[in-house]
């Protein structure tokens, strides 16, 4: 770890100002990605702006047709929240499968979405449900928040306040884990929105999360596992590493989507 200055502002606006004043400063949420990065000397910020001292950023409440979740809400808090468990149980389930207990106790939804690791889980939620990302500079739509690998629509000095996540009519989450990291090798979030729209979000497989429109089209005509027989996903744009070829990742997407369908039909 290289030496850096440390600030723990009491408000989001102050944090944003510190970041605006110094382009080499970096915001710190739960630190589950960034602290290991620092330890390996892979980043050298002038200053860490720790968001942990800002009040009211870790709240969960029902708001309209969805959930308002503060940016600093930990995965553990989402998983354990009675509000989430009642309104959107699959989101609580998703949060309960992130990392390990230590990661879930520290890691935050805001940090996960702002980092946009291709294998992260929350970006799939934000994209698939077209959640609203409320920031210090305004709002973004989840459907165009993730332009590429480790990229988001955020400005460098823009901080997430909270997410408004529309609660779907029904949802199922399937994660196929990388055998080493236990991140998603491929993940699929299948939802039926309150408007009856079928959406299928995919994580882990590509440079960033994306919607599998071929699966959505097939399920729109018949919401049954068999509807996905013969549906193929183009492997061309998918990730490839020592754990899985692009072709294998492409194969897994409809397999996981079928499991989602079965689970949604069983409920």
């Amino acid at each position: 770890m290289y030496a850096f200055d440390y600030a723990k502002p009491a408000s989001l606006d102050e944090a944003a100002r510190l970041l605006a004043d110094d382009p080499e400063a970096k915001a710190l949420a739960g630190g589950q990605t960034y602290i290991p990065t620092l330890k390996q000397r892979l980043a050298q910020p002038t200053r860490l702006v720790d968001l942990a001292g800002i009040p009211d950023l870790a709240t969960i409440k029902e708001e309209g047709d969805g959930l308002a979740v503060g940016a600093m809400t930990t995965h553990k808090a989402v998983a354990a929240s009675p509000v989430v468990q009642r309104a959107f149980p699959e989101l609580a389930y998703l949060a309960s499968l992130i990392g390990d207990p230590a990661v879930r106790a520290m890691g935050t939804i805001g940090g996960s979405v702002a980092n946009n690791d291709p294998a992260a889980d929350y970006p799939v939620v934000v994209l698939t449900l077209d959640a609203t990302v409320r920031t210090t500079k305004g709002e973004h739509r989840g459907s165009d928040f993730f332009p590429g690998m480790f990229e988001t629509a955020l400005e460098p000095d823009e901080l997430i306040r909270e997410f408004h996540i529309p609660v779907p009519e029904a949802a199922a989450w399937e994660k196929f884990r990388n055998p080493a990291s236990r991140y998603a090798l491929v993940s699929v979030l299948l939802v039926r929105t309150k408007d009856g729209e079928i959406r299928c979000g995919v994580g882990g497989a590509g440079p960033t999360c994306f919607r599998a429109t071929a699966i959505e089209d097939a399920l729109r005509s018949s919401f049954a596992p068999e509807a996905l027989d013969g549906v193929t996903i183009d492997a061309g744009d998918l990730n490839e590493d020592i754990h899985a070829t692009a072709a294998y990742r492409a194969h897994l997407i409809p397999v996981l989507a079928k499991r989602c369908v079965r689970r949604m039909l069983r409920r």
Partner: protein
């Protein structure tokens, strides 16, 4: 007292300090004014080293020294060595290239040590190491053992990168047996390269005392005396009497901390160069992946000749072994004397011939890793026997049983040098089949099929040679050292006992097991025993812990020390009791005059020995006895493992449903510790089969250098193990009848898993059998079936 003696499930006395964070590891030791070393490691797999910009870095804040291979050479330090000379078929010795502490002309693998920077703080040392400019001229690299022969020459003058071309067994008899075969099963397989992954990474703290000129090294070592020997006799860090090596609490070794590495030699040398500033180095995890000696990495072809009745006639094996960029401490014996000598397995195959070619490659050195050669042998035999059963349409359990060495055939001379002392292979097989409900498998398979799952069951009847070893035997085979062990038992005035051992515990629970041994042998309370190990200034010279030898060799040295204590105590007791020595009996800590109730406890005898006011003439005061034990033979733990698993054909995911392990470890001192050792070994064996792989890309970069990419087995990857160790045939090589249990799980498990997987999907997949590989194999099989 005997409730904590031999055979009791006594809780481990060392666990209180480990569980409460009170262990004292090398990195916990902080000396006044200590400095920190950071190693500059080659980013290239193979490169010529040009100028190193030392001067620019020497002026950086806090920097105390920058050392290169030229400095090491100028100081006259020697090369690291491999201590076992393996002789080739043509009679020539092995091609051992220099293994410098720091690179001189070339770097030969990613992670090779190019320079050492020492600074007052760790951050300063890292800054300086980052700033050090090294001119590299990259050279072509070779990483695969199968391509090593045609790869670039890694060490000058060693053509084809060949270290040795060795053979064992009767080639002519084997060829003749193949002529008579009714069936020949052929197999080609890879034994995947593994990284050892001890929980505690390697660390060293070197201190030179300019006053006494004593050198002290605290190091993560499984064998501090071997460290002292090699560092003084071969590398020349300090004369042996001026060198103290301390291995305090050590958090796991699995073999990787047997070896003498450059880092620990260099921090001690640097302390002397810096006039006594203590110098510490602790590896980070990626450094451990890059620089710890790896394990396995074989490519083999094997053929099994079988007659019309299903009797094995002969086995022929060729193995190419990757030893990495340099020959590590015991690397040469792993794919030879610890491997091919075990190729008989549990079978009476009359003729066996094996030849092994070992090669240099541009990868981390490869040496012993939990099992060391024996897992490779066991995997090969049990895989080919499994395949033979499939080809012949025979039940794999019955084909094995038919070929077992029968229990009345011991001692049994195998065709590959070893003499097995005892065993009852049918007994462990029967018990394992029983426990696993082998007969009920077909019904369970149908139930799985009804859910769309592929179920498989696999056997592995492993054997290993442990308790290494008879010095004369290993010496005749090329070992540079003897492999006896030392022990010493020391009473105090108050009847408390110190046990000194040349072995070293780094997770095995010696403090508990050896205390149980003393409790049973001498009748002293378990709590009154303190076990001391890991310090060359405290313990007698010993050879350390590896090869499941600590109890079978080190424990026997302690047992013999106890016998000497009793013999001396009998003289003292006879005097105190005014009886003839021949009339004194010793039992449960009491010296008793035969046929009377007149007795002296061993504590009273110890007191008399230290306060010899009323004492037998001609007997020395004190009660302290030691023994060195050189075993007459190896021990031969063996057993049967049964793995049952289910494969999801949609994804290729394997789920292990049951794992039954029935081991014959001879007599058992602490069943709880033994079961724990088996559990750990099984995890590593299952890890090898399904998850783990140290992967280099073709340029020689280690792709699996963090836990993001190196798949370690976790609790959720396995079911609760069903382990049974109670069916032993006592070992003949020691009075305790113990065989050793530390490596069995890692030796026996891979074949059980892979045989079960093959049974499930109909085709064998190379390890690690990842979901993707399994899925592709299923697809290929289905396409082939569709085409028929």
């Amino acid at each position: 007292m005997t409730d904590k003696g031999i055979g009791a499930r006594t809780l481990r006395k060392e666990d209180r300090r480990f569980i409460t964070g009170k262990g004292r590891y090398v990195d916990d030791i902080r000396m006044q004014g200590q400095a920190y070393a950071v190693f500059v490691r080659s980013p290239h797999a193979h490169a010529r080293i040009g100028a190193i910009g030392k001067d620019a870095v020497l002026g950086m804040p806090g920097v105390l020294g920058v050392f290169t291979g030229a400095d090491v050479q100028a100081d006259g330090l020697g090369s690291n060595v491999c201590g076992w000379n393996v002789v080739s078929k043509d009679g020539s010795g092995m091609n051992m290239a220099p293994y410098p502490l720091l690179c001189t002309d070339k770097a030969r693998y990613v992670g090779d040590r190019v320079a050492m920077v020492v600074a007052e703080t760790l951050d300063q040392a890292r800054d300086a190491a980052d700033a050090l400019e090294v001119d590299y001229e990259p050279l072509p690299a070779v990483v695969d053992v199968a391509k090593a022969q045609d790869g670039p020459v890694i060490h000058d003058g060693i053509a084809g990168n060949l270290i040795y071309d060795w053979e064992l067994g009767d080639k002519a008899a084997t060829e003749a047996a193949f002529q008579k075969a009714a069936h020949v099963t052929r197999i080609e397989l890879v034994n995947n390269r593994l990284a050892p992954n001890a929980l505690e990474p390697r660390a060293a703290l070197g201190h030179f005392d300019p006053g006494t000129e004593q050198h002290t090294l605290y190091v993560t070592s499984q064998n501090p005396h071997v460290h002292r020997l090699v560092m003084s006799a071969f590398i020349g860090i300090a004369p042996e009497h001026k060198l103290r090596v301390v291995a305090p609490d050590v958090g796991g070794g699995f073999g990787s901390k047997i070896f003498i590495y450059g880092e620990e030699c260099l921090v001690l040398w640097a302390s002397r160069k810096l006039d006594g500033v203590p110098v510490k180095w602790t590896a980070d995890r990626t450094e451990a992946f890059l620089s710890d000696a790896h394990g396995r990495d074989h490519v083999s072809k094997a053929e099994l000749a079988i007659d019309a009745d299903g009797d094995f006639l002969a086995l022929r094996v060729n193995t190419k072994a990757n030893l990495g960029a340099y020959m590590s401490t015991f690397s040469s014996c792993v794919p030879t004397y610890l491997y091919a000598t075990l190729l008989a397995g549990q079978y009476k195959t009359p003729a066996i011939y094996a030849d092994v070619q070992a090669y240099y490659t541009n990868t981390s050195p490869v040496d012993a890793y939990r099992g060391a050669g024996r897992p490779e042998a066991s995997f090969l035999i049990e895989t080919i026997v499994g395949q033979a059963a499939r080809e012949l349409g025979r039940d794999p359990a019955e084909l094995r049983r038919q070929n077992f060495i029968p229990k009345d055939a011991f001692p049994y001379q195998t065709p590959v040098a070893l003499t097995y002392d005892t065993g009852d292979y049918a007994a462990t097989l029967d018990r394992a089949l029983d426990l696993s409900d082998y007969k009920g498998f077909e019904a369970r398979k149908r139930e799985s099929a009804s859910r769309g799952k592929l179920r498989g069951i696999g056997l592995s009847c492993y054997i290993e040679a442990c308790g290494i070893a008879p010095s004369a035997v290993v010496g005749s085979l090329g070992a540079g050292v003897g492999l006896w062990e030392s022990g010493k038992v020391r009473f105090s005035h108050t009847g408390k006992v110190q046990v000194l051992t040349g072995t070293h515990s780094h997770g095995q629970g010696h403090e508990t097991s050896f205390s149980q041994l003393i409790a049973s042998k001498l009748g002293v309370p378990f709590e009154d025993v303190e076990v001391i190990h890991g310090d060359t200034e405290k313990t007698p010279v010993g050879m350390g812990t590896y090869g499941s030898r600590s109890l079978a060799v080190g424990g026997e040295a302690i047992a013999r020390s106890c016998d000497k204590i009793v013999a001396k105590g009998r003289k003292i007791a006879a005097h105190l009791l005014e009886a003839a020595e021949a009339d004194i009996e010793f039992k449960d800590g009491q010296f008793t005059v035969k046929g009377t109730d007149r007795a002296k406890s061993i504590g009273e005898v110890a007191f008399a020995a230290y306060v010899p006011h009323n004492y037998p003439e001609g007997v020395e005061p004190g009660l302290e006895e030691g023994a060195f034990f050189d075993p007459p033979n190896f021990t031969y733990p063996a057993g049967t493992y049964v793995c049952e698993l289910e494969v999801d054909p949609d994804t290729g995911t394997t789920e292990i449903l049951r794992f039954v392990a029935v081991d014959d470890f001879g007599n058992v001192v602490n069943p709880m510790i033994v079961e724990g050792q088996v559990h750990g070994g099984l995890m590593q064996g299952i890890g090898q089969a399904l998850l783990e792989g140290a992967v280099y890309d073709q340029s020689g970069q280690l792709v699996s250098a963090t836990y993001m990419d190196y798949a370690m087995p976790r609790a959720w990857d396995v079911p609760f193990f069903e382990v049974e160790t109670g069916q032993g045939t006592p070992a003949q090589a020691n009075s305790l009848g113990v065989k050793g249990c530390g490596e069995a799980g890692a030796i026996g498990a891979p074949a059980a898993v892979i045989n079960a997987l093959t049974d499930a999907i109909g085709v064998r997949v190379e390890m690690p059998a990842t979901p993707e590989k399994v899925w592709h194999a299923i697809q290929a099989t289905r396409h082939a079936q569709a085409a028929e």
